[in-house]
């Protein structure tokens, strides 16, 4: 493969292959050979070489995305507004590489993208191998960029991809062995670390995580070697054949921590950074979920700020923001977490006599367990953490510390850019085709993607009316409502009880999601299921807008097996209405329990269509995406 081929500005529409297929032999770069020597080079747009090699081809013709800069800016601005003004996250276009002029991004998304599977919503990643050649993922975002437009990340990632095959070809045999050695070492070290830390919850996490890292990296390596058909040695080929079976066995996601297991809860408490007092009057049905007193955590954490040496201040800040609810929304939380991790990685220095990979992984795990104590992870965050740990584990040993750190930071930027920012743009582009003049669109709560869709459709000049349905206790719809009315959309506002009164006038329902599970269940803010059910009863189509990185291979039948419990006091007190104080003084009665669910599970039969960056798919295709795109692309 010639890395110096000139860019092609026209991409041939190819048939997208879904299902089992063998990629063409003269394939693109191996995914995990040693890293490029020089990560930052003058960006040269030569991304389209990958286009030819991507096995699934390019099925969509280039579609123009209208000037998209304000989407991401809007998103950033809203993310900023949603969060208290912080300096830790400078959502400038520099750090999060948003290509405003990236018109043709959409076309390459569906073949090149890949969804992470197996990430349990807590920090315990599923032990599922996801093998996506890193190169493919990086180049996806810059495929079809007109020459001359080169974003820093895009260029750098192109460079990554360019350099990798060169080095891969020359040093492949040796580096693969070194890789394997390093991986085994990491595995052994992780096991030792796990034993040292005991069986506390976070150790289970790190154990699982590191083993997950080793497993997917091994599998990734073997599958990428599969791609280099003829050049693969026999032994490596064997490894490649073995990996899929192992993957299949490990396909079942690692069981999550169940909080009714007293011994594990006690051990977790001992190592916890955040002192949690268990809530009184716990609802029996939810004994398996953590339920804590909410008022006491924040002041306690604030006092500890200067005591926690191992905790990076940026991570600490993000944790506090999660705890106080300043950052909400799957994408915002994920981006905030990654920005904090970038800071932490930037300031990281390997202690003597430790390897970077192992130590950094352990440190990231400790950060993650801290974040979990502040607020349980969303599924998108879980997937993102798995990605990061995967990237860390794949760092070649030969890399210097600064190079490794900058690689990681670039990877993080790329992830944010491709999986979140750009995929939102693709979703918006698809979704606005479903909005016609005269529509009455209903939305529930405040989803960032749905907001972008509505604003974009409004800018395109479509005339429609929006119904914003809101619910207690978060009343998130008011935030969305304010932003929509400011932009001049005509809106109706109501509460979730009235949805069956208003549904007869509605033509379409747009919903956001925290995650879509493999049985098609949409895991989203509590109340979404009610809205979808009523829409179904009135024969109104329900469109769920969800980025592909939020897909998960877990399955869930109802909202009780897994959920998040919020602050019970938010139920008894009504914000802004002092006269609703019927429950004053009763809160500690043993007969009264207050249940504040955060999420619920919408059955797939209420959902007409899911709009993702892979296109518009029915709910039954979610496991297909999880499975197929996991295999082709390294989850990088």
């Amino acid at each position: 493969m010639d890395p110096r081929r000139t860019a092609r500005t026209v991409s041939d529409p190819k048939v997208r292959q879904v299902g089992f297929f063998t990629p063409a032999p003269p394939e693109r770069s191996v995914s995990d050979p040693p890293r490029f020597q020089d990560p930052i080079q003058p960006p040269s747009p030569s991304p389209t070489q990958v286009n030819d090699h991507s096995p699934s081809g390019n099925s969509l013709s280039p579609v123009m995305i209208p000037p998209a800069h304000h989407h991401s800016d809007n998103f950033l601005r809203t993310a900023l507004q949603a969060t208290s003004p912080t300096k830790a996250f400078s959502y400038s276009a520099k750090t999060v590489t948003i290509p405003p002029e990236n018109e043709d991004v959409a076309s390459s998304f569906s073949p090149g993208r890949k969804v992470v599977s197996a990430k349990s919503p807590s920090s315990f990643p599923g032990v599922k191998a996801s093998s996506v050649p890193a190169s493919e993922l990086t180049t996806v975002s810059v495929v079809n960029l007109p020459p001359g437009i080169s974003e820093k990340a895009g260029g750098a990632s192109v460079e990554v991809q360019n350099d990798r095959p060169v080095s891969a070809k020359t040093l492949k045999e040796k580096t693969s062995k070194a890789e394997r050695r390093a991986l085994q070492e990491a595995q052994r070290a992780a096991k030792a670390a796990a034993k040292a830390e005991g069986t506390k919850a976070s150790s289970a996490a790190s154990k699982v995580v590191t083993s997950a890292n080793t497993k997917p990296s091994k599998a990734a390596k073997s599958s990428s070697q599969k791609n280099d058909g003829s050049q693969v040695a026999a032994s490596e080929k064997k490894g490649g054949d073995r990996a899929p079976e192992k993957d299949r066995k490990k396909d079942a996601p690692h069981p999550r921590m169940q909080y009714d297991d007293k011994s594990r809860v006690e051990k977790a408490k001992k190592r916890a950074v955040v002192k949690q007092t268990e809530a009184r009057n716990r609802v029996e049905l939810f004994r398996h979920l953590p339920q804590y007193e909410h008022g006491t955590q924040l002041p306690d954490l604030e006092t500890k700020f200067f005591e926690l040496d191992p905790m990076h201040p940026a991570v600490y800040k993000v944790g506090l923001q999660y705890l106080s609810g300043d950052i909400r929304g799957g994408n915002a939380r994920c981006i905030a977490m990654f920005q904090a991790f970038k800071e932490a990685i930037k300031d990281y220095s390997t202690p003597p006599e430790k390897t970077l990979i192992r130590d950094l992984t352990a440190r990231i795990s400790s950060y993650v367990s801290f974040l979990i104590e502040c607020r349980p992870l969303s599924i998108s965050m879980g997937n993102a953490i798995k990605f990061l740990k995967n990237r860390i584990a794949k760092l070649p040993l030969a890399l210097s510390e600064s190079e490794a750190k900058s690689t990681l930071m670039l990877d993080i930027d790329r992830f944010i850019n491709e999986k979140i920012i750009l995929s939102e743009k693709v979703i918006v582009k698809h979704a606005v085709t479903k909005i016609r003049d005269g529509d009455v669109l209903l939305t529930y709560g405040a989803s960032s993607v749905v907001e972008m869709i509505l604003l974009h459709a409004h800018e395109l000049g479509k005339h429609f009316h929006v119904v914003v349905v809101d619910s207690r206790p978060k009343l998130e719809g008011q935030l969305l409502l304010r932003r929509l009315v400011r932009k001049g959309l005509s809106c109706t506002y109501t509460h979730v009880n009235a949805v069956s009164c208003i549904m007869q006038d509605v033509t379409r329902v747009f919903l956001g999601a925290s995650s879509v599970l493999s049985n098609g269940t949409v895991y989203s803010r509590v109340g979404t299921a009610c809205v979808a059910m009523v829409a179904h009863a009135f024969h109104v189509p329900v469109l769920v807008c969800c980025e592909a990185y939020k897909f998960h291979e877990r399955v869930q039948l109802d909202s009780i097996c897994f959920n998040e419990l919020g602050n019970p006091d938010a139920i008894s007190k009504v914000q802004g209405r002092k006269e609703i104080n019927y429950l004053d003084g009763l809160v500690n009665q043993e007969n009264l329990q207050l249940l504040n669910l955060i999420y619920d599970a919408t059955p797939s039969d209420y959902v007409s269509m899911i709009i993702t960056d892979y296109g518009m798919i029915p709910p039954t295709s979610v496991p297909v995406i999880v499975r197929e795109y996991r295999r082709d692309h390294l989850w990088s």
Partner: protein, 375 residues
Amino acid sequence: MPYTNQAAALIHSVKAVGERLIAANPVELAVGNVVRRVLHIVREEDLSLTTAAMAGLNLSAESDDEDDTDRDNHPALSAAAIAAASRSTLRPPSLQTLLEDVPDSAAVPHTSSSGGDSEGKSKSADKSSRSRKLKHDVIEAVNELIQDISTCHELIAEQAVEHIHQNEVILTLGSSRTVLEFLCAAKEKKRSFRVFVAEGAPRYQGHLLAKELVTRGLQTTLITDSAVFAMISRVNMVIVGAHAVMANGGVIAPVGLNMVALAAQKHAVPFVVLAGSHKLCPLYPHHPEVLLNELRSPSELLDFGEFSDCLDFGSGIGAPLLHVVNPTFDYVPPKLVSLFITDTGGHNPSYMYRLIADYYSADDLVLERRTTSGN
């Protein structure tokens, strides 16, 4: 207007008052129900008096069987009056009376004018005694009605034990006194069960109900309305009160209950509606979300102060950009209701129309009096 038929006069005056009461708040269907009940009572009492008198007349006529034909020729003084009066009550409304809305009692004096003075005197004597009896009966019946309405809770609560067994989980939304008494009656009988109360925004009546249940010792969990679908898979029964029950078996209920009913249907959870018989309305719900609904103040949803900049933002055509919809009631179609529990027992939604015949007369469905030239 001269009414020789006391009942018709009573009906007319009750209708006059009732019309005004209903016009004051058409959505409050119980008012119309009670008015129609009273009218029905008047008609019934009148009918029963007439039939009693007729029966008495027949008995007296029976004594001389061979003079059947003579009965008409030699009418007993009371018999003629009774027959005339009975004709007015028992006669089906003639086309003439329907079209012209002429009180059919006006026809009576003519037919019985052949009676003569003695008859007239006896008639008036009978009339006065009959009218006194009618008044007495009607007042008694209305008192009974008042009694029924105030004790409907107990009668309904008595049936609680039949429906709530041990270790049940019950879901309700908002607050209803009938539901409260129902659940407490089951608690008295030592049934152990738990209650999920949905708070019922934006009035938050669920908080009140939860407080009441807790003070009476029931295990209560308060949830938000949005969590209803999430929790309903673990619920055994949904028990709610109603604002009104319509003639087709549909329910006008506090807002949010249609959502609960749909969720209950999806999970095959019985949806039980408790309603006193005074809530049964003989009208059919046409477009109930709009016509039988009441919109409350938007300030319950949005703070005026916070959203004042958005609320009076006029667009180019002058229409406000932001509407806030705060309905009070929801319509639950009869196919979503599993059972009605009334003070007369448990009924299927498809049976409710039969109960209407017990409580209401067909003449009273439309309460507006048509103005005629004669008046």
